[in-house]
């Protein structure tokens, strides 16, 4: 599904943040990328989703056999890549429903599927809203406008559920969530697990991984993956902290 080889990337001020990432995620797998602050977690999410402001200086990213880095952010999304934002953006004046329908129909067209009409769309929306316990009234507002922190994160997972990506990258989706919201988000993620879908969860803490059990756990530190293992690695990190991996937690 996703193969990252020797990925180097720097930010606008010239500092190199990613210093040779190697990672392979097979179809159906859930991987967790853990690491201390400043290890490059968000940069990796940004580079994979095509966020402006990063320059890839070396290496490659292959997604379903295609050069992912050659695609614009909208093309990546239409090809089935989804990024759940650490800080979802508020967009006043763009109605949530209108936005979501435009997004869904763009993605469906790219998959060779027909647009949903208003009735079909509403039906799909209602089913997924229930899963994440989001009130329908939130969708009448501007995108993320007036949402609490937890509602914004749930809205990200709701969008993911609607768009049904092949590869989902969740950037610190667990941060700022209380335990109930964490459970709802985890339920949303688990509902999407399947043999054709891969999930990369980027997180600082182990607690999301209690609810969404990963197949593989990687430790990112100083712009490189310094250790990989099974789900037990996350527990180990919880006990020992990131101190052993070079950076302060």
């Amino acid at each position: 599904m996703l193969e990252i080889r020797n990925l180097h990337a720097r930010i606008a001020d010239g500092r190199e943040i990613l210093k040779g990432i190697d990672l392979a995620v097979a179809a159906g797998e859930v991987h967790a990328i853990m690491g201390p602050n400043g290890s490059g977690k968000s940069t990796l999410a940004g580079v994979l989703s095509g966020r402006p402001g990063y320059e890839v200086t070396e290496g490659s990213v292959t997604y379903l056999g295609r050069d992912l880095l050659a695609l614009g952010p909208d093309e990546r999304a239409r090809a089935g890549v989804f990024l759940a934002f650490q800080y979802p953006v508020e967009i006043p004046g763009v109605n949530n429903m209108y936005f979501l329908r435009a997004a869904l129909n763009s993605v469906r067209r790219a998959r060779g599927e027909a647009d949903l009409d208003a009735g079909q769309f509403l039906k799909a929306v209602r089913a997924k809203l229930k899963l994440l316990e989001i009130g329908e009234d939130l969708l009448q507002r501007g995108v993320n406008v007036g949402f609490s922190g937890g509602e914004k994160k749930r809205n990200e997972i709701f969008q993911m559920a609607m768009l049904e990506p092949r590869l989902a990258i969740l950037d610190e989706t667990d941060s700022g969530l209380d335990i109930d919201a964490l459970r709802m988000v985890a339920r949303g993620i688990n509902a999407l697990r399947g043999p054709e879908r891969s999930i990369v969860m980027i997180t600082h803490y182990q607690r999301l991984l209690e609810h969404v059990v990963p197949d593989r756990v990687h430790v990112l530190s100083g712009g490189r993956i310094v250790k990989s293992g099974g789900k037990e690695l996350a527990l180990e990190l919880e006990l020992t902290g990131y101190g052993a991996y070079g950076d302060a937690a």
Binding site: D74, V89, V94, S106
Partner: protein, 433 residues
Amino acid sequence: MSAFADLEPYVEAFKARPEAAEPAWLARRREGAIRRFSELGWPSRKQEAWRFTDLRPLQRVSFPPAAGACRASAADVSPWRYPAAGHRLVLVDGAFAPELSVIGDLPKGAWLASAAETLRRRPDLLEPALRETDTIGAQPFVALNAALFADGFVLALEPGVALDRTIEIIHLGRAAERSSQLRNLIQLGAGSRATLIETYAGEGAYWTNAVGVVAVGAGAALRHAKVQDEGAAAIHLAHNRVELGRDARYESFVLSLGARLSRHDVHARFDGEGAACGLFGATLLRGEREGTIASVVDHAAPGCVTREYFKTVASDRAHGVFLGTIGVRPQAQRTDANQLSKNLLLGRRAAIDTKPELEILADDVKCSHGATVGDLDDAALFYLESRGIPVVEARRMLIEAFAAEVIERIEDDVELRAHLGRHLARWLAGGAG
């Protein structure tokens, strides 16, 4: 090229006008007005109010008044019609087109007719509209209009008359290198109420020069919308003078989608206490268009409220201008006024000038103003793109959101908001932001 040479065709056109059976007072005022126009000449960029306006498209050729030979069909009118209108008056090249108009049933005490018909049957109604020809900011276009106008519309409501259904006035421009000199009058008696939408549309290199005189009597309320969407070669100048009586309400919304040169001037004056004026609008420009909103609000009475909010979007090589002055006279204590100009500059070759201004001579007032110029929000753009929305569509959504926010300021008229929203969407569909 001397200024006098430029004015000559208009003075000639005035002399060559066919003999009309007009009242003697009107003939005298027309004579006075053409003299005034000759004295004033074209505005110069040295005048503060015209600093940002490039009048060359108007000066390159002359635009004598249209002869009324052009005709329009119902199909030309239908895209511009306001679905919720109850009364419709259509003017083509500045002349009333009865076959396209449906005045409909009017309550007793309401007058709605073309200016030409009003001159024949009720000249007394039109007289106030010509009273102060020379005094509006030494405006040569107003003087020229007074000299040459042949038609326009008149809405006059006697005290206490309420029109429940919206009136629509559609002006279509057709004749190249001709001008439509329109004189419009809206007069609302005490306690009366109306909603009116004017639409200016057309094709070709014509010039529309419209002057509106609006009087909102004590306790009366007028909602006055305008949609202006003309061809890339057309010129549109409009000047509205608004007087508000005690406790009067005036709310205007201007959606301007441009012309080669378009300018909407509004001068509002509070003559009585406790009145309120809302001036709102969105201007969206592409190509080589230049569009100006120029407003002057004169607080000459105490305890009045002004809310002013204009937005401009300029892309390609377009040029948007906002000039806003709110003046508070010494006697206008307890004035509550604010003015906001927000602008979206898309592309390196587009330009926006904005100049909000307060002149406060009273001490017990609450006044504020502000202006911003910016580009689309990159974070919002990336968010939309990251969900699969193509960049062109994402930009369109953000431009639409920017402009729609000011349309939302129209309270309690869902149909009008929807109508303006449709025009906005049509403009957005017409090309890249």
